[in-house]
């Protein structure tokens, strides 16, 4: 398909991507603006790095970032395990009792409005605390559990897509040769679906790192995550250090996503070359 794009489609592409990226670009540019009035460009003293310096002296922001990072990492790991298991069941277990409910439960958390997920989670934690005394109070633990529940749905979708286009002959060969199912999973299945598991982990990490609404419902005093802190500042209007923070986050995410994307692509190419080489007659 090397047909030239029509002028209309080309225009829409250019305008659409401009629409997606200009606001982010403006945020980056204004993070170097010296004026405290964020939207007025102070051409005498700009560009400056003072908001970045201020950012790293702000212990509230650093603490919140550290807490968010910890929650996101634990959540991503847990959600990846749960989501991979769920995807495995959906693709490999054929028809089992309760399958329809299982499918509904693995997809609904993705589309349910966050305010409803957040409220329902909080009411569960309150009820549990009353009945069995756990979890005592709310904080990092309850935030992590809530995040794992909605993030595992995303991991399931990503891993499921990969598993369903999976050539099972390798697994069958290993089973025929007497390998135990567990061993087959770790030695054959997992390496093959690894790219989707890594993408799922990354997605779960970022969804958690980013979440405001669900977190606000299930967090307690003393556990303020980065999005909560940003939201409370932003509600009062624009502030220059948030521009600096946003720039750093956008930069990090871009580097990580592009880096992981490229290395997965390279790995894929290498594997398919190896498979080709192995398939060729000697």
């Amino acid at each position: 398909m090397n047909k030239r794009l029509s002028p209309f489609v080309l225009t829409m592409l250019v305008l659409g991507f401009a629409f997606l990226y200009v606001p982010i670009l403006m945020m980056v540019i204004y993070s170097f603006n010296a004026s405290r009035l964020v939207t007025v460009w102070d051409s005498v003293h700009s560009p400056t790095l003072k908001w970045y310096a201020e950012l790293f002296e702000n212990s509230d922001i650093l603490d919140a970032a550290r807490l968010s990072f910890r929650i996101a990492a634990v959540n991503a790991t847990g959600a990846t395990i749960l989501g991979t298991l769920a995807a495995f069941c959906l693709v490999r277990f054929g028809k089992f009792r309760g399958r329809a409910l299982f499918i509904a439960l693995t997809t609904a958390p993705m589309v349910l409005p966050e305010v409803i997920t957040g409220l329902s989670m909080l009411l569960l934690f309150v009820a549990l605390e009353q009945v069995i005394g756990w979890p005592a109070g709310r904080g990092a633990l309850t935030i992590t559990i809530a995040h794992m529940t909605f993030c595992m749905a995303y991991v399931t979708v990503v891993v499921q897509a990969r598993l369903s286009t999976f050539d099972r002959s390798l697994e069958e060969a290993a089973l025929d040769l007497g390998a135990r199912p567990m061993k087959v999973f770790f030695l054959i299945t997992l390496p093959i679906i690894a790219p989707s598991v890594v993408s799922g982990w990354l997605l779960a990490f970022i969804l958690s790192w980013d979440d405001l609404v669900i977190t606000s419902f299930v967090s307690g005093p003393g556990s303020t995550t980065l999005p909560q802190l940003i939201f409370s500042k932003v509600r009062l209007g624009v502030s220059p250090d948030i521009n600096a923070l946003a720039t750093l986050l956008v930069l990090t995410v871009t580097l990580v996503v592009v880096g992981v994307g490229l290395s997965l692509q390279r790995r894929e190419r290498r594997l398919s070359l190896e498979a080709q080489a192995a398939g060729e007659p000697l």
């Binding site: 398909m1 794009l5 982010i24 945020m27 409220l119 569960l124 990354l202 946003a246």
Partner: protein, 300 residues
């Protein structure tokens, strides 16, 4: 051999049981609790809910259900207006993202493989970038002395800065901006799967490109369109962050009402009632859409 089959069955049950149990405990049960608490009334205590089960003076267990939340919500024009406005905002935003997203997805699916990968990454990237910060970016852009007003003033289009922020316009802008990648992704995968020889056949038979688009491309990508619309519409109905940051005090949306009932008025039962009604609205919407879709498939 029989032992092995038994072990395999046990393993299977374990693998299925872990995610299943997790979802039931942390997703299904909480929704049932919301449903239950929507029949309670607020009380000055922690948690601020009148328990549904209680023991009377004669040690007999009593169940007390109040329908007051529902009669209150349905009887109050404010809540009805919030529901209606949420649906309106979500519908218009979905339509706008479709109109912008379809040509973009089409263009991405029809470029060379090299460009396709780059453009695809560019669609995914905003999805990975903080939702909150992307909404925040518009506060600066739309503010009274922000760049948009400055450009319009300099060009002489306007003579006094426009109040763009805290308007419905800003809410639509924020919605379309935030949800555009959700629309493009399913559309892209539907358009990419489309067999180009169908369009060639149409062209050979003398069909003009525009007609071919409406007669061939559009119907064959209808599933992608439906998926994209649902991915935008459903979260948009319950959206909180965008109306809270970009909307004015008059921008009533259901997500915001629920948030305020919960955090500001501490009326947990009423918030639960709002949640249940929102959920029913969304489920009803999805069921109707699915029925329409399956009828279409049957009639074809």
């Amino acid at each position: 051999m029989r032992d092995q089959v038994k072990a395999w069955r046990l393993g299977r049950r374990l693998i299925l049981g872990i995610p299943y149990a997790w979802l039931i405990v942390f997703f299904l049960v909480p929704l049932l609790i919301v449903f239950g608490i929507s029949f309670s009334t607020p009380k000055l205590s922690m948690p601020p809910i009148e328990p549904l089960l209680s023991y009377g003076a004669d040690q007999v267990m009593q169940v007390r259900l109040y329908a007051s939340n529902y009669t209150f919500i349905i009887g109050d024009s404010l809540y009805l207006a919030a529901f209606a406005n949420s649906v309106k905002v979500a519908l218009i935003s979905t339509l706008l993202t479709l109109l912008i997203g379809y040509p973009m997805a089409y263009g991405i699916a029809r470029t060379s493989a090299q460009w396709r990968n780059i453009l695809f990454l560019l669609v995914i990237l905003p999805f990975f970038t903080s939702f909150l910060l992307r909404v925040y970016a518009w506060i600066g852009l739309l503010s009274r002395n922000g760049p948009i007003n400055a450009i319009l003033l300099k060009m002489g289009v306007i003579h006094a800065p426009l109040a763009l922020l805290q308007t419905d316009f800003a809410v639509y802008l924020g919605m379309v901006y935030s949800y555009l990648p959700f629309m493009i992704l399913p559309l892209y995968s539907a358009i990419e799967k489309l067999d180009p020889s169908l369009l060639e056949a149409a062209a050979d038979l003398g069909c003009r490109p525009i007609k071919a688009f409406f007669r061939v491309t559009l119907p064959l990508t209808s599933e992608g369109i439906l998926a994209g619309c649902l991915l935008v519409f459903i979260p948009a109905v319950g959206e909180y962050v965008i109306p809270a940051l970009l909307g004015g005090p008059g921008t009533l949306m259901i997500g915001r009402v629920l948030w305020d009932e919960f955090f500001n008025n501490r009326d947990w039962p009423l918030a639960s009632g709002v949640a249940v009604l929102t959920l029913m609205l969304l489920v009803g919407f999805v069921v109707v859409l699915q029925r329409v879709q399956s009828e279409k498939v049957v009639s074809e």
